[in-house]
């Protein structure tokens, strides 16, 4: 168990810098999810923490130690890989024991640890099988077992659920979370799936193009996204963005609709509002012309455009509701649920 400090961390391949000045302080026992679109550098960052990629500049500390120059095996970490990376010719037991054997633990201790981990993961009956005789979910457990037996200071997960089908993914997600809470090991988890990130992480580090867009709890990210990118990435369906102008203490949409806010200055802005925060109200100022209706059972999604414009607008209405295509539906938006962004820098403007 340990804290992790990432200080001014940079990664370059030749002249191209792929990670820019990453800062982050991870608490002991915290579950951190690094999330972002593919190619944002999240796996590279994880592999730098693991010691599988070199650090171009900056520093990684695990606990009290600077680990930049340490081999992966000297960093007291364990890692779970996307395609499990189980040794195909070894039994489940041998897979889990391999790292312990290299560390020259006694056979009795190895057996004890392997069996304990197998019990936690409920894979005891598979210990003598080969990986190819197991299902995807079982292999995933073995991969986690291999990490657990090492009793490391840090768990690293590299998109470990992306090869599983949707249902199993949800189940394993919960299991990983429970396991981590039970063991209390500091963990870093990489995924491109924002739902996975929201449900798993104590805090999320949103990476985009090699920059940290925001680092905070899921609720902070949802309630106060630091940028248009984070706002659009977190939450489903994605936030609506409308061009607008702040004038005389109000937000004026492009079709002339005025929403009063307490804003100090006047500027062009991008207005963000989540579909679930649009409240149907016959007198509401925001009118949506319906183009398509998605019935999801628990709620209903209305896709269309803001009246009088070609700006896409989506609203989420609780329960079943029937609407005709072409119909206008009115919504109100409480000022507290609005997000304003600078259209130039794409960063958040405080109201």
């Amino acid at each position: 168990m340990a804290e992790i400090h990432l200080t001014d961390l940079t990664k370059s391949y030749g002249p191209t810098e792929v990670l820019h000045h990453i800062e982050g302080h991870i608490q002991d026992g915290e579950f951190i999810v690094i999330v972002g679109p593919s190619g944002c550098g999240k796996s590279t960052l994880l592999r730098m923490v693991a010691g599988l990629e070199t650090v171009s500049s900056g520093e990684i500390r695990i606990g009290e130690r600077r680990v930049n120059e340490l081999e992966p095996s000297e960093r007291d970490i364990a890692m779970v890989f996307q395609n499990y990376a189980l040794y195909p010719h070894m039994s489940v037991r041998a897979n889990m024991a391999y790292g312990l054997k290299i560390r020259k633990l006694s056979q009795a201790e190895i057996n004890r640890r392997v069996e304990e981990a197998a019990d936690i993961l409920e894979i005891r009956q598979y210990l003598d099988r080969k990986p190819r005789q197991l299902s995807g979910g079982q292999r995933q457990r073995v991969a986690m077992g291999r990490a657990i037996v090492r009793d490391p200071q840090v768990f690293l997960f590299d998109e470990p659920l992306s090869n599983l089908d949707a249902k199993l993914r949800v189940q394993m997600r919960l299991e990983i979370r429970k396991l981590q809470q039970r063991l209390g090991v500091t963990s870093i988890y990489v995924t491109h799936d924002q739902v996975e990130a929201m449900t798993l992480g104590d805090r999320l580090m949103v990476l985009n193009g090699g920059y940290v867009e925001q680092f905070g709890t899921p609720i902070e990210l949802y309630d106060r996204p630091a940028s248009i990118f984070v706002a659009g990435f977190i939450g489903s369906p994605a936030m609506n963005f409308l061009p607008a102008e702040v004038k005389d203490g109000s937000v004026v949409l492009s079709n002339g609709v005025i929403i009063p806010v307490e804003s100090p200055k006047e500027a062009n802005v991008t207005l963000g509002i989540r579909p679930e925060h649009l409240q149907p109200e016959p007198e509401g100022a925001i009118a949506l012309q319906v183009e398509m209706v998605e019935q999801l059972g628990a709620n209903t999604l209305l896709h269309g455009t803001l009246q009088g414009t070609d700006k896409a607008l989506t609203a989420s209405v609780a329960g079943h509701a029937t609407y005709e295509n072409g119909e206008f539906v009115n919504f109100s938006a409480p000022a507290s649920m609005l997000h304003l962004f600078d259209p130039e820098t794409e960063s958040r403007l405080e109201l």
């Binding site: 693991a50 890989f81 990376a85 040794y87």
Partner: protein
């Protein structure tokens, strides 16, 4: 092919087309059979000739079975036939070939495995260039290195020796063995190496405890390929050996082309079969791997 597929009632097959199909089927088997005879005939002739007496060879037909079985020719071929001036049969040369092939196969396979492992999984700057150079090296006609190699062996004091031939076969076999292992190892996910590094294993340990145990199929393919190449080699054998160190192919050629005395065709044939037996045996026992080596060797990159 739908020839023997059960016919649906809706299909309006008429008798003519059935007859036609049957005739085609027979034609197919006839052709396949004829070709089989073409490929088998030389082996058949070799075996029957080797079991005949010289007298019967002169009077009988090429493809007739021996009237009287005699293993005299085999005995002569093994231990009495003359290669030039010496008349010890193929036996000593057969063992020469074994002494050359076994170490050369083991060394070139082992080095190829290590090279392939480095190139496939420990990519460093320039590794691909080295691999390309090796690949081109596979294709050179050996004539182009024959003269300098002869001089080099002389300088190393290995001219005309079995170690010299071993060295030659190892060096010029490396391109192919590296290619085989590299192509096999690139199919192993790179995460396996990463997982092993996290587990604390180093370069050699990962090779030894993870890659080698997974390599059995490609080891078999490579060993068979190398053994066939080296056993059947003639050019290096004839160029870099001397009287006592010739491999079996060179001795066979000497027996067949020695002009002294009566031409003993039955001995020639017995000697040819003896020289061919080891590779034939490998082919029969492990044909699947033999073919895999052949096709892998031809589909490069």
């Amino acid at each position: 092919m739908t020839d023997f597929a059960p016919m649906s009632p809706a299909a309006t097959q008429n008798r003519n087309s059935d007859v036609q199909k049957l005739a085609l089927r027979w034609l197919l088997f006839a052709m396949l059979g004829l070709f089989a005879l073409f490929y088998l005939m030389p082996l058949f002739v070799m075996v029957t000739t080797s079991l005949k007496s010289l007298e019967e060879i002169r009077t009988g037909s090429l493809i007739a079975f021996p009237r009287e079985l005699t293993f005299e020719a085999w005995r002569t071929a093994w231990s009495g036939a003359c290669t030039g001036i010496k008349c010890e049969g193929l036996q000593p040369y057969f063992w020469n070939s074994v002494l050359i092939a076994v170490p050369a196969v083991l060394l070139s396979t082992g080095l190829g495995a290590a090279n392939g492992y480095v190139i496939a999984q420990w990519n460093f700057r320039g590794a691909n260039l080295i691999f390309s150079l090796m690949l081109f090296g596979c294709f050179i006609p050996f004539q182009v290195v024959l003269l300098p190699m002869a001089m080099m062996l002389g300088k190393m004091g290995l001219a005309g020796t079995i170690p010299g031939l071993i060295l030659t076969h190892v060096i010029y076999g490396l391109g192919f063995t590296t290619l085989f292992f590299r192509n096999f190892y690139v199919t192993i996910p790179a995460d396996l190496v990463k997982a092993a590094k996290v587990d604390g294993a180093g370069f050699f340990r990962i090779f030894w405890s993870i890659f080698l145990p997974l390599s059995l199929p490609i080891i078999v393919v490579t060993v068979i390929w190398q053994f066939t190449q080296i056993w059947n080699d003639f050019l290096f054998g004839v160029s870099f050996s001397q009287a006592g160190t010739q491999p079996v192919t060179v001795a066979l050629n000497n027996i067949v082309n020695s002009t002294t005395g009566v031409k003993e065709y039955n001995v020639d044939m017995a000697a040819a079969i003896i020289a061919a037996l080891p590779t034939l045996l490998v082919y029969v026992v492990a044909g699947k791997y033999f073919i895999r080596g052949l096709t892998a060797g031809s589909v490069k990159g």
